[in-house]
């Protein structure tokens, strides 16, 4: 509208002077801050390897890892392993999450359910998965079902515990409220329990996704011909450090990505919360 003649003060550079108060919460999130630490880690690895501080025989150099990864991609082993493992982990994760959530609801909402379910689950999680494998092989054979169920068994524990805990720590006053509103049990579960336990459930999911990946290493030792876990096991049998490290890098990538995904969902789904973090 106005023609520019001379540089004037920018329009409405309204001052914004607020009382300064020591900030006690963590403050604004740093954009992509999570990557800084990982970048630093990566940097340390590169520098350590380049300066010879890290013995390449212990920890392969990053460039060798890239090279080896290239080879593995070329001959298709990496993609194949990723695909096989991905399907296994996803199926096991799905099954485990479903079972864990249902058990947590049953056990969280009824004391009888709890007294039957909770003890055995605590027993289960005290026992090394490795030690359960013989039983699982006996009952389920050495094929895919055994592998998927073993993954599901690793996954359902954190989902169960976190959801159960999340559910039990919903503020009692909300249950009171629901009672006065005359909601049915189903509505109570849907509108109060599930959203109230959601923070717990999602924290459980963060453990569940990594558990499903970690379980691959255990199950893919048995009668597997491909998969990331199989690849790592095989490579460590032969002392192929570079392939192991490729496998670990893949693990780290998958794990960090999956965790970030769950945390993203967390931020979206729990946007109603006003916490120290927000």
């Amino acid at each position: 509208m106005t023609t520019l003649t001379a540089p004037t003060r920018p329009v409405a550079a309204a001052e914004d002077v607020r009382p300064t108060r020591r900030r006690l919460g963590p403050g604004e999130p740093i954009r992509f801050g999570g990557l800084i630490g990982i970048a630093a880690l990566l940097g340390a690895w590169v520098v350590g390897s380049a300066t010879g501080l890290l013995d390449p025989r212990t920890l392969t150099e990053p460039w060798t890892v890239v090279e080896t990864a290239g080879t593995l991609v070329e001959n298709g082993r990496l993609q194949e392993s990723l695909l096989t493992s991905g399907v296994r982990a996803a199926l096991g994760l799905g099954l485990g999450v479903a079972v864990g959530t249902v058990l947590a609801l049953v056990s969280g909402l009824s004391r009888i359910g709890e007294s039957l379910i909770d003890g055995p689950i605590q027993v289960k999680r005290s026992i090394p998965t490795l030690a359960l494998i013989p039983l699982l092989i006996l009952w389920l054979g050495i094929g895919e079902p055994m592998k998927i169920i073993t993954i599901a068994l690793a996954v359902f524990v954190p989902v169960y515990i976190h959801t159960h805990n999340g559910l039990r720590t919903i503020e009692g006053r909300y249950a009171e409220l629901a009672e006065t509103l005359g909601v049915t049990r189903g509505e109570f579960v849907r509108h109060v329990v599930l959203p109230g336990a959601m923070p717990g459930f999602l924290l459980g999911m963060r453990f569940a996704v990594t558990s499903s990946l970690l379980a691959l290493v255990v199950v893919e030792v048995i009668n597997a011909t491909s998969g990331i876990g199989h690849m790592i096991t095989l490579a460590s049998n032969y002392g192929q450090t570079d392939i192991i490290v490729v496998g670990l890098v893949v693990y780290a990538l998958l794990g960090v990505t999956a965790d970030a995904a769950v945390r993203f969902i967390e931020r979206k789904a729990l946007s109603w919360r006003r916490t120290l973090a927000s």
Binding site: P134, W139, G141, N223, A224, Y238, G239, Q240
Partner: protein
């Protein structure tokens, strides 16, 4: 799988010639599988085989107990422990190396800077020892051969999982540790520059067997299938010895993911295999190992002869002779 059992067969009865139709043999022996497939010998196999990618003592034993496989491929130690822990098994095939002292299965890895040139030098050294594994038995055999007792060395108990032994050597945590040929190459490649070395164990460690739970052999159909399988297995071992390059490529490179050079090295180091048509010497040597274990680990004495199902000795002999 093992759903429908065939007719019962006494362990002393003659092996039937052919299994009933539809008999499936579940085999945990990936190397032979690869050899059979690569050589084309697999076409000669009349029984249906379901392959499982399972090897090694603990895993095969687990699978036996769970009735997940019928036959497993292991060194000479696992059948002993299977027996000692109450799983009734029989050895149905035996293999050895043509020139065992030149081509040991394991070498003794020596940590960088440690001065060990012969097995006698291990006196007073820290030796990695994994009781219950073939590597553990090897250490005991080496001590016996060197005329040392367990007290003359410092046994460091640790499991030989993956590359744990070579890592322990590299970190100078132990002075001596048995390394499988597959690890020897990588170990030397990495640490020879620091003064690491390997020496031959000076004892035979080449015994290799196929074993099966007794129930499998008491099932007439399965027994017949095993007979069929061991015959072809013997030919496969021969093929492996005759075609080291092809086997290295097919098994170590394609199946196990080694580089071609490493695969070549392993195959050369392991040398040629032979399948004895008479087991007498094999069993005698096995008995020696048993006696060592009985003494060193307080195991129950055992006449190892009873673990061998010598009906298959003849079947193998027939198959080997037939093929030549």
């Amino acid at each position: 799988g093992g759903a429908e059992a065939g007719p019962k067969l006494a362990l002393s009865a003659a092996l039937p010639d052919a299994p009933a139709d539809g008999t499936v043999l579940r085999v945990g022996d990936p190397a032979t599988q690869v050899a059979l497939e690569t050589s084309g010998l697999i076409d000669e196999l009349d029984v249906d085989v379901e392959w499982a990618n399972i090897t090694g003592g603990p895993k095969t034993l687990e699978a036996f107990r769970a009735d997940a496989i019928d036959i497993g491929s292991v060194a000479d130690i696992p059948p002993l422990f299977a027996h000692w822990t109450g799983t009734d098994v029989r050895i149905v095939a035996a293999r050895e190396t043509v020139d065992p002292m030149e081509h040991p299965t394991y070498e003794l890895g020596i940590a960088p800077g440690v001065d060990v040139e012969s097995i006698e030098d291990i006196e007073g050294k820290k030796v990695a020892y994994s009781p219950g594994q073939a590597q553990g038995a090897l250490v005991l055999n080496v001590l016996r051969e060197a005329g040392l007792s367990q007290d003359d060395v410092e046994l460091v108990e640790m499991q030989s999982v993956d590359d744990a032994f070579s890592v322990a050597l590299a970190g100078n945590q132990v002075d001596v540790a048995p390394l499988g040929q597959a690890l020897v190459k990588t170990y030397l490649a990495k640490y020879e520059q620091d003064g690491a070395s390997t020496i031959a164990p000076g004892v035979r460690d080449d015994a290799w067997t196929l074993y099966a739970p007794t129930e499998v052999l008491e099932d007439a159909d399965k027994a017949a299938a095993v007979k069929e399988y061991v015959g072809l297995w013997a030919q496969a071992q021969q093929w492996i010895s005759d075609h080291p390059e092809e086997f290295a490529e097919a098994y170590y490179v394609d199946h196990e993911g080694l580089s071609p050079e490493d695969a070549q090295y392993v195959v050369e180091a392991l040398g040629e295999f032979t399948v004895p048509t008479s087991w007498d010497e094999f069993i005698a040597r096995h008995q020696e190992t048993v006696d060592t274990l009985v003494e060193a680990q307080d195991q129950e004495p055992l006449d190892v002869e009873t673990l061998y199902d010598r009906r298959f000795e003849k079947a193998i002999a027939a198959a080997v002779e037939g093929s030549q």
